[in-house]
Symmetry: C2
Subunit: 477 residues, 2 copies
């Protein structure tokens, strides 16, 4: 009964995917809305996911030589304006501080929407010689973009992210770092979040304001929409010229540095929900699940049951993040709650199980149940964690592949997008006019020119002129 | 020569303590100044200290049941104004956002100087029943206070901190949590930062805007000035009444919650510098030293020297944070740099050492050198880490005790403060007029009424009326 009530409270994803998403973030207690329009509270269950993302991503960064720093959250207006394309891209959506204490400021400050300009200002003073290079810095912080339409984790006026900013002696080194970090992102998404991604380059139209090249990883959500999940930008020496960041090379001549930046955000939590979630709620990949095992005692008032549940917890907690749900709710309610919160494994243990020296394990992802001898619990849970992590990635990849189509001419292209939502691979001539037309006609955008190019046809799917690149197209979040 | 040059570059602390401090933060590469007035860049060597503080403090929080969350950085003006004392305390020093994108905002937003009001707004919606209590939440974030005079780590317009905010069913539980977190702070300072602190209560005059009681830990810097290093506030139900945060108790009546908040900040890095530093630079306590062991190869171009240095690093890195300084600088320069950066242990290893199967270990804190057999290196480094950590705390305590005085009458009180800088313990009647007079005459403030009260005299050191409390007085940062 209680179980039924909880399940009924979520809209099914087939009925209304957007509402299903909102229901899950609220019911799984990931976020709450606030009096601050367009901003959210990240609650303990949501923030704990972010902490696990941070820890594992940060460790991967550090393995490649990244050092963390912290720069101010404010950017003086004159600094933001130094790089022309960049300011055009961001000025319309920043928040402005005009007063400090009771006084108006002489120069207004924006709250950082991203920190390229601050890093340039810093590097200008910090880099003098080739010995000072490379600089491979990153910061974990919050940024602000004054969005009109917001949605938890996906788009909010303030969000948490990391932004890496590097400076290199040569163009080649900058390009290598740009690609290296994209690969770190892709591996992280696949290995930790169980989300398969397409790696590729953004078109000129879609690239970052001020970048020479923007690389992206694109994931496909359960509703067939695309999510840009991480980006890595090569700036060439454009910012360095605008900010006069020069170093004395070995030959004693002054040269401009070459720069990159790359970022991932709390958006990844949105991706986890929309790739893995189902009509029972959240489904967490084990490696970022704040609770990996939830033990539910059955008939917990009977002597020995709670003690056994705690004993199992103590045994499991050496290797797993585990809790006992010892609240006064009914087991049915606890099951539904554990499913809503997406705990990868639920362990049920009652008086009869204890007598028989076994327990029941229920996988969240497949909802399969199996009986396990209590002696072998740690071993079985360990195996299942690996299995679940692997199979979640496989299922997400199967779903994505089943929703990836190919179009060879405009008619086919239009027909697919009128019937389906997913990735469509199609050839492109490289002309922005075709991109604009496709967006106008079908409300889809170029997601990326994948590194793994295929030759689907000789001609552009839009104009019929010779094709230069295969592009992934889709509706994007 | 190179060594001499570096050492000469720091002002000695006896000559000018403030300049010595600035020299250390710059030369040890902890911070840099920016184009953003009153804000600083925390560079890798500085941020790595903060990361170690965060990790260890966060682990201690979580042991007491704290959960991390993230709330917006903006506070609508109407929300800030809900608690009268609080807004009076903070409104004069906040930064105001008045425009979002190209539009003026309907209501201006301040950048959080602290988040009591946001947590209240959140708790109001999140707390309904006694079952929802307690809430023991914390966030790691940056806050902004529009200070006029700034100094790296000690006082800047933006700084990093954690702020815990809790809600409880009863006044007693709130008081217990307030004291519990103060004890967490005190233990952390002593055990991790090797900084001894005085635990006590702030006077009415010095307490936090909106608090019923503010507890503090006060440390003594090398120049004899006091540093408030962490505070924990009991708000009673004042905020709960202003924000109408009520819960249905077991007896079904509505009751207001009782709240606390507590915070520590990047100021702790300033404390580490000013408690442990010397005229050679920074001296890091091992537990928060980003590099604990720096291996300096001697005659590194000779065959086998660098290999041996890397071999020792690989052996040590299993248990310690270690690096090899394999740059092209002279050993003398490397020694000076290692001292400036405060690495607890320097290991010197050259061709003769290798031949003899030994190396030289130099302690940063005492600058003592000792020869160690290479076979026993891990063991010896491990022992020394413990010894250094313990002795640094002991020395800091000895210094503090030697600069803690007692005054029984006003003449003695004035004489001590005219001759010395340190803590002065003296009795107080409890009247703010005496506090004001003391501040006016001697430019010192009450630091706290220590939990460990002593009876030094029957009468107030200022007015001669009956004394109520012993107070620590001092000049504060």
């Amino acid at each position: 009964m209680a179980e039924k009530k909880m399940v009924e409270a979520i809209t099914s994803m087939e009925e209304d995917f957007a509402q299903w998403y909102t229901d899950v973030v609220k019911k799984a207690e990931l976020i709450d809305y606030t009096s601050v329009k367009g901003c959210m509270v990240i609650k303990p269950a949501g923030y704990a996911i972010w902490e696990l993302i941070q820890q594992q991503l940060d460790a991967r960064f550090k393995e490649t030589g990244v050092q963390n720093v912290y720069l101010p959250m404010f950017i003086p207006e004159s600094l933001l304006q130094k790089e022309k394309d960049h300011v055009e891209g961001f000025a319309p959506e920043v928040a402005w501080v005009t007063h400090g204490g009771l006084q108006p400021l002489q120069e207004r400050l924006c709250v950082r929407p991203t920190s390229e300009t601050l890093f340039c200002d810093f590097y200008k003073n910090d880099i003098h010689s080739y010995r000072d290079l490379p600089k491979v810095y990153n910061q974990w912080c919050s940024v602000v973009r004054w969005e009109k339409e917001t949605r938890p984790f996906m788009r909010s006026r303030e969000f948490l992210w990391q932004e890496g900013h590097t400076a290199h002696a040569t163009a080649q080194e900058a390009e290598e770092r740009t690609v290296q970090m994209l690969n770190v992102y892709a591996d992280f998404c696949e290995e930790v979040l169980a989300i398969p991604v397409i790696k590729g380059q953004k078109t000129e139209k879609e690239k970052f304001a001020g970048a020479v090249a923007t690389y992206t990883i694109e994931a496909l959500m359960h509703d067939g929409k695309a999510l840009q999940s991480g980006t890595s930008h090569n700036f060439g020496d454009g910012f360095a010229r605008a900010f006069e960041i020069q170093y004395a090379d070995r030959d004693n001549t002054l040269k401009h540095v070459h720069q990159t930046s790359w970022g991932m955000s709390t958006r990844l939590i949105g991706a986890i929900i929309m790739v893995h979630g189902d009509n029972e709620g959240l489904v967490m990949p084990p490696r970022v699940a704040p609770i990996q095992v939830c033990i539910v005692p059955i008939q917990q008032k009977k002597e020995g049951v709670l003690d056994k549940a705690y004993e199992l917890r103590d045994r499991l907690k050496e290797n797993f993040r585990v809790k006992v749900d010892d609240t006064e709710k009914t087991p049915g309610f606890k099951f539904a709650e554990a499913e809503m919160r997406g705990y990868p494994i639920r362990v049920e243990v009652g008086p009869k199980d204890i007598e028989a020296g076994k327990c029941v394990i229920c996988r969240r992802d497949t909802r399969e149940k199996l009986e396990v001898s209590l002696d072998r619990l740690e071993e079985k849970v360990g195996e299942l964690m690996e299995t679940i992590q692997r199979e979640m990635l496989e299922r997400a990849r199967t779903h994505r592949d089943a929703h990836t189509y190919e179009a060879r001419d405009f008619e086919e292209f239009q027909r697919i997008f009128s019937e389906k939502t997913g990735f469509v691979k199609a050839m492109w001539c490289g002309d922005q006019a075709c991109e604009d037309l496709i967006k106008e006609k079908m409300s889809v955008t170029s997601r990326c020119m994948p590194f793994a190019q295929e030759h689907l046809a000789d001609t552009c799917v839009c104009c019929g002129r010779p094709a230069k690149k295969m592009v992934y197209w889709g509706k994007a979040y």
